[in-house]
């Protein structure tokens, strides 16, 4: 299978208060298209930094990050913004939505960056919300939704433009077990039914159990990769 994401000798160092902290150290990693990856490791191991580099939110100090056919290291800030709008969807841990906009308006946000008519935007947003089971909550503001529903709206926003890659940073970190499982089920369904490549940062082994492969990072280096079996239904560790 073709590599959807390729990390070549990537190094990233943060400088704070005169101290340097190497978060990613000459990392080499390949991820295949259409696979659900969980990214695990202790705090400071570089999980979120790697996610940010793959999502074009940050630049590597050295090495190359290639997503699909695009070498992200060659793009400047504005080009990265345009690339993100078209090729990647994000789901963050909490406060994922703009609180003053309704669920539909939040989902329409990335669609505004695409050359679509108002009717097309509306239709795509409604389709995405229906896909995550929130067809009846479209005109609700985030404060009128539960935590799980908010995360599902965020997932709808992430898939609204039909990107090939979905990046999720602790998407279930603020949710109770039942709600978290529902969100993870949804991500798994997107992977299986829509063939989305998903990279999910998590501390939760149970959440990682929903992924096809679990990548372990340790001190900025690749630890090991565990492969989960893929039965027909949802899996738990």
């Amino acid at each position: 299978m073709a590599a959807a994401i390729a990390i070549h000798s990537v190094t990233k160092t943060y400088h704070r208060g005169g101290e340097s902290l190497r978060v990613l150290d000459d990392l080499e990693l390949q991820m295949e298209a259409g696979t659900f990856y969980a990214l695990m490791g202790p705090s400071g191991s570089g999980k979120t930094t790697l996610l940010n580099l793959v999502g074009g939110l940050d630049h590597a100090d050295a090495g190359r990050v290639v997503v699909g056919d695009t070498d992200l290291t060659s793009l400047d800030g504005s080009e990265l913004a345009r690339w993100r709008a078209a090729h990647v969807g994000f789901v963050f841990q909490g406060f994922n939505l703009l609180p003053v906009l309704t669920a539909r308006e939040n989902v329409e946000l990335p669609l505004l960056l695409a050359p679509l008519s108002k009717a097309q935007r509306r239709e795509q947003a409604e389709r995405a919300l229906a896909l995550v089971g929130l067809g009846d909550r479209m005109d609700h503001k985030p404060r009128e939704l539960s935590g799980g529903q908010e995360q599902r709206v965020a997932i709808a926003r992430a898939i609204a433009t039909d990107p090939q890659v979905i990046l999720a940073d602790e998407p279930t970190g603020d949710l109770d077990r039942t709600t978290a499982d529902a969100v993870l089920d949804l991500l798994q369904r997107l992977n299986r039914e829509l063939n989305k490549t998903i990279l999910m940062v998590t501390h939760d082994p149970q959440a990682a159990g929903f992924a096809d492969q679990v990548i372990h990072l340790d001190k900025g280096k690749l630890g090991r990769i565990d492969r989960n079996e893929r039965p027909a239904g949802a899996r738990r560790v």
Binding site: A81, R82, A85, F90, L112
Partner: protein
């Protein structure tokens, strides 16, 4: 380039209503000061300009800048009234020209204290020259050669003894008020009497000006030039409109400068308030900025969104400031004009004043929002997401 939806910024203003309200009040107060001063300036400027006519010629002594400085003898006035061919004639073949005496006298105000009031000695032709511009509101017109006065409606209720039937003593002569007239501009703040009787009472042997009806478009410069070498009289001639504009220019400019100065000083404070408010807003919404950037909104879109929000704040303040000022529309006040006489004029919040005020408010918002918007735009997505 796609922009962040306008409703996001609009609704965000409502969500943080306390901060929005405080900023709107600060900008509104500044705008109210500017709008107030501009309204006064407009009221004062239009007081005279509205009434100025192009078919009336004002003859002053050469070198004089106002009636108060001017002085023409009776003979000079006769020459100007009867010999200048441009002066129109009435049905009886008499020139539509009148010599006038103008002086400011100290009179008691109704609410205490004294002020200068303009007294104008007029001739019967004066009324024919002004036509409908000067109309009697109460009482009757003064009889020629009598010790009778008529007062402009602007003085009634402001200056003591200015009602019909009242008696007004000027130096040693006692005059009786027989009428109240209404008229446009500064005349409504004057007291009119018979020219010769007032000349005696005021002990002024010279006249201040000759007012004459001439065809509109008359070349008054050429008229003036004809008398350059005339040893009998060398007048300065202007249309009434030009003369009145020259009379209000100085005070009108003072109002503009004063208003501008106050607006700039208060504006600086308002800009700081706006900047502070926007910085607070951006600080509180850092994560939202991070989300917008992550989704794909570029630096220009983020800059435009937050600058637009600051301008919206400014416009809100502008609207509030105008609302503060509008209830005073038409309210009358009094001041000294360039001839040191009391004139009353209305507070005029014209569409031009409103447009300037709103524009000023938007500019305050723009300047106040510039730095915060730039800050939000320059932040990387990761910085924004982390700080949120």
């Amino acid at each position: 380039m796609a922009l962040v939806p306008f409703r996001y910024n609009l609704r965000s203003l409502f969500v943080r209503s306390s901060s929005t309200l405080l900023t709107v009040c600060a900008i509104g107060a500044t705008v109210a000061v500017l709008a107030g001063m501009l309204s006064l300036q407009q009221g004062f400027a239009t007081l005279f300009q509205e009434r100025g006519r192009d078919d009336l010629a004002v003859f002053l002594r050469r070198g004089a800048t106002s009636e108060g400085e001017s002085g023409l003898t009776r003979e000079q006035c006769d020459i100007l009234a009867k010999e200048v061919p441009e002066v129109e004639l009435d049905a009886q073949g008499q020139p539509l020209a009148s010599a006038e005496l103008f002086l400011a006298v100290r009179l008691r105000k109704v609410d205490g204290g004294e002020t200068n009031v303009s007294i104008r000695g007029v001739q019967p032709a004066t009324f024919a020259i002004h036509g409908d511009d000067v109309r009697l509101r109460d009482g009757r017109r003064l009889a020629p050669g009598s010790d009778e006065l008529i007062v402009g409606e602007g003085l009634v209720g402001r200056i003591a003894n200015c009602g019909v039937g009242d008696v007004l003593r000027i130096n040693t002569v006692t005059f009786r008020i027989v009428g109240v007239f209404e008229g446009k501009g500064g005349y409504r703040s004057e007291i009119w009497g018979d020219l010769d009787r007032l000349a005696v009472a005021l002990q002024r042997p010279v006249r201040s000006r000759v007012l004459a009806k001439v065809p509109a478009g008359t070349d008054l410069a050429a008229l003036e030039a004809r008398y350059t070498d005339d040893l009998r009289v060398q007048p300065k001639v202007q249309t009434e409109r030009d003369y009145l504009a020259s009379q209000t220019q100085r005070l009108s400019t003072t109002f503009s400068i004063l208003g501008g100065f106050l607006a700039v000083v208060m504006g600086i404070a308002a800009v700081f308030t706006g900047t502070n408010s926007m910085l607070a807003a951006i600080g509180a919404r850092m994560h939202e900025i991070g989300i917008l950037k992550a989704i794909g909104y570029g630096p220009v879109a983020i800059f435009a969104a937050f600058l637009g929000e600051a301008v919206l704040l400014g416009l809100g303040g502008g609207l509030f400031g105008c609302l503060l000022v509008l209830p005073f529309q038409g309210a009358e006040t009094g001041t000294m004009n360039q001839t040191f006489s009391e004139v009353t004029f209305a507070f005029r919040t014209t569409p031009v004043v409103l447009a300037w005020s709103i524009g000023f408010a938007a500019a305050l918002g723009l300047v106040g929002g510039l730095w915060p918007a730039l800050r939000a735009a320059r932040m990387t997505p990761v910085q924004a997401l982390r700080r949120g």
